[in-house]
Symmetry: D3
Subunit: 263 residues, 6 copies
């Protein structure tokens, strides 16, 4: 079975830089897979993506060196299984707040007797190889997102669930949940992030986190995270475009009411 680059790099202690795709295009997905990221996550929660888009994007990523992951919109076993059948090598699942949630996620990601994944490997076989069914339980990652106050409070029980391959933190929803807003500074939710990281490291569980930009990603690596996501494709595209327009106009800028002010 084709190896999982995320697992491999964790084993050897190397940092993983992960891409995050919200644009529903297999062309940009393939380009991102060639841009140097170790893994590429198709975001079906806040990305503008249907199942067919995800399928085409997973196929496109398969032609690149990056390992394909999917962030699902919710803890729904049937849709998790479909995306694994479509070739995802890991499922990042939002809003995991209890050990029961975490167990349900693991069960959806593993074939019996360990889990409850239904047989019908489909594209998994094409991407992974002919030994896919035999080895999928060892290769595919179950990755709960910790992004609620309950998730923080239950972090030890969640980390104790057999089969959790990584914890992934959603700092914005965590701030929403703990501070009631997205404003900075975020003392409580930042403390929670440190706490989660410390508990995970203690129990030997790898950690990942979404970052707003490269600067934050570097800080998170220094803080000890194994995997970092430096923003998503859409925002990076638009921000570099806003910069490009301003760069070109420069002194030539006029009062034409560009809509990019303050984007």
């Amino acid at each position: 079975m084709r190896s999982n680059k995320v697992k491999d790099r964790i084993t050897t202690g190397k940092t993983i830089v992960n891409a995050w795709l919200a644009i529903p295009s297999s062309y940009s997905a393939e380009g991102m897979g060639q841009a140097g990221f170790h893994s590429v996550t198709v975001d079906m929660q806040h990305g503008m993506l249907g199942f067919s888009d995800a399928l085409h994007m997973l196929q496109a990523i398969s032609a690149t060196p990056a390992t394909p992951l999917v962030r699902v919109p919710e803890l729904n076993k049937a849709s998790i299984m479909r995306l694994l059948d479509a070739g995802a090598y890991g499922i990042i699942c939002p809003m995991i707040s209890t050990a029961d949630d975490a167990r349900a996620l693991v069960a959806a990601c593993r074939y019996p007797p360990i889990g409850e994944r239904s047989f019908g490997p489909a594209r998994g076989l094409l991407y992974g190889g002919l030994d896919y069914v035999a080895k999928a339980n060892d290769v595919i990652m179950a990755i709960p997102m910790i992004e609620t106050l309950d998730g923080v409070e239950n972090i030890d029980e969640i980390l104790d669930v057999t089969g959790i391959d990584m914890i992934y933190i959603g700092p914005n929803d965590l701030a929403f949940s703990m501070e009631g807003s997205l404003e900075f500074p975020r003392s409580e939710s930042e403390a929670a992030i440190s706490f989660i990281l410390e508990r995970a490291q203690n129990k030997g569980c790898p950690t990942g986190i979404f970052c707003s930009d490269v600067g934050e990603a570097k800080r998170r690596v220094e803080q000890g995270f194994n995997l970092v996501t430096p923003g998503n494709d859409f925002n990076n595209l638009i921000q570099s475009s806003v910069s490009a327009v301003r760069g070109v106009l420069g002194a030539y800028t006029d009062s034409s009411g560009l809509s990019n002010d303050g984007y």
Copy 2:
């Protein structure tokens, strides 16, 4: 009829910064339309786009302040007319090398009695407004690309064709045509670009040009071009992503064989 921001800015002597879309996504297209560009060009020649993609992208751009243009794959009257019906406010047509080519382009973009555009305004009516058919000939732009040796030699006859609204230069194909390669320096094709610009300015015809990046775009504005295109969406996305990965890894770089070397 909704006005054409490209024409309006030419009239008042303002620079136009134009986006170039190769990614087949209405989501990224809408984002680009909000990023500050004055016009957004859907590239059906080298972009990875079918007609339905173009339709969705033109609709998405319609909700933004940017004026939608289309670069067609070839001088084909039927397909030019379809894209105008889909709401394009200007057609950039590659490989216009003679006055006859230019006349055919203009004829495809204009309703009778001036041109030969077939009646059936479709989305044009939705984007432009109920007076679309009456005013389309004044608002919609016919923009030949000059990118062949023949085009350079015939530039005066092309500029004399009634109805040409702008000349757009494709520097890479021009270099291919005149130098036989894309290597720098490109003395002959650069001289041709200056010559075309000078002839167009002489005859009062606006000019546009594709640029590889912001730096070139600024130089072309200084050189006198009215409209500049600072790269396309795909390349800008991938380049900013390659930078992001390198920015994050920094000292943490390892010998993992990233595929982005030298992209």
Copy 3:
């Protein structure tokens, strides 16, 4: 943030005429948005629509004066949030029968600390503007459908749920639920409609209702409803087409076994 025409007209006591889209096409959606409706609802329950269709339709409606709403197939928080991220300015949710259902709907439609909507505004930002996250809770509407016997019986508790912006009645499913059939006259379910309307007006909650045609829509406006939906796009298209065929054939009609008899 771009304003919500439905909310604005309610404030000033004006009737809202709402379109209902079952045809999976961004082209017809854009046309409907230009046809004079104050709001346009993308129907993901009985419409023949996937997520990508809805995205393209919401983008197309964004270029028109009409406010975009979505009728979701069920009370599922994750899918409600995705459609808000895609730009819906209101969610009409079927089968709300209890105050708990209504609270769950509101929670899915509001960011913390009021609700539980996950952060990742995506297209919401493009349609609403840069202040989208700050103002979305005030602009976006949560609209439960009352269409079950339980919903009627629990109407007061449902109306008391904080954050309900309008009640929308589904008369056909209500008749199914209360009369056990769709046949007329529907004395019980009609009485329930009057009762719901009266309770809502009493508590100052705006009301909307699906209608089979223009005639019923006018009667419902006279009855006191704020928002009416005069049929859906598909049925209106087919009925006007059946009329057209009959109009043309007239005396020329023959026994060719048209399939439209009794449509």
Copy 4:
């Protein structure tokens, strides 16, 4: 091979009412096929349609009693053959102005030794049946559009081309070509329509025409046309919607600036 309802009704002297599809949806296409039309034309010239849309629409029409036709965007042999392979039972081709044009159209629609259609029947076999290749030359219709001054002047030579199954008039482009505008009255182009009709009847060639509405369609039937098209799906949908909004608002109309004024 499944029979061609258009040919059958011509043989028995019955009028054909033909639908015209510009909306890219297989759902509305299937509804139109059930609405009583004898044939349904997928419009790839001014319709907002790509090849995949056309394929899905032709499949949907195949489940209805209506015979599927396609109006192609131009006289291009390869694209005509692809649409026949996709199951079209007739090709309506715009801008046929000479006998050579007409011969090229017929050649694209017929297998050797009569024509030049390439072998690869694809969906034709599924729709037509296992004897498709043997009988297609007899069943599939080649229908040139006469809509230019040249087409009028060359009408006799065009009608003499072997294999022409019907002449279809495009009154708007004909007015554009002959009057230089679309304004009424259109004395010259109306006279040309009568002339074409008379010549076709004289030579025993069936005739069809696009009409703006039911009233015109009835007049054209009385004038002697075999096949009439009472508007397209998009316009009929939007006009019935504009009427619906006005019908509902009636006395309740306010000065809200509906965009449908004068549509």
Copy 5:
């Protein structure tokens, strides 16, 4: 209402050969509908299909003699209702383990007063005919999959649920559930299959089963099953292709490392 070939053949004691579609293509779906199968099942659980694919495939199957069924990914009422609205004549639902599950499935498939299906027949009306709503409860099939240990143990209660039209066995997931692996021999799960079959026959409930190939399908018919599915389209295509490559290469085989070894 158009009849249901599966029900009809059960009534007359005839075997049903059922196709299983995992390829997201309306073209291959239509071909399969013409290949002699009595029913064709669109597999939305392990097939690579989104809703729009399913819609196009159901439309394509409607033009063939085969009756369209859908295997849904999970017991979700809203998505079951959408697929019925899209024209499915039967729902095969995975993982039905209790009588409550079975009742929920039946409720989703039936209009009131028997069930809870929401009104909005959409494509059902186009495929079934104008009496669709009146007769759908009698024509459309609710088909639970028995594929868990719990399902086996609760088989009598499940069979006693009013409205179950057939039991469909998933032998692979049953083996996973009962044996903990997919290896042969599968003594326990085979015994369970015989037991389920015997109980169903006893209670007069028809039975169906998924088979890995033609040989197994023949054995299952002999064993007493009413409906058999001889593999899915994707696997049959790939296996016949692997055979074709090997057939051609034969003695010409070389050591080029074909990836089909052991497929």
Copy 6:
């Protein structure tokens, strides 16, 4: 640049077994790429494919060991260039009848100074690698189809055109062109095939041919062809399905009027 398996195997004298795709699905395309074929041809002439389908299929094939080719619908330079930009490693072009045709094909497939291909490598860069533009002229194949009487008569001039990488014979259209029908025996067109093969071998030009099944493919290999195509995916799927149905029914066959008789 990634190597071209077709060219590589020709160099070493090995047979190439080529797949032919008419089903518009990236899933079946990826499966075919894993089935052992050395090359996989996306058929845009008689396949039911639009550009977006082709893009997704080429991306899917890129994740397999097979080399991607495209059969275009016609000799159109712009569409050939777009498919090369989308990642095709060879263009099979129908109806090449003269040396001028062949030169135009080669020109569309090669960058200057050899040819006229426009710069904008797009996906070519992703599939081929960063040295794509420098090496594409050596790797990408121009493959004219010989399938007309003129093509046979002009075979020597065609073979003399610099840049022709292989001759591909379309036996059915050749029979149509030379015999006026598809019936067997085909003495004239078979003689022409032998003649073309002999002339090509004489001039050192590789040869390929479409075959109706495995048996014919083996005979063509023995006859001396380098590349053979044993039928297309759609026909192989349907034929194996017809066999499956018959295999299952066997003695159980009834008079139910299966539509597959004589397929």
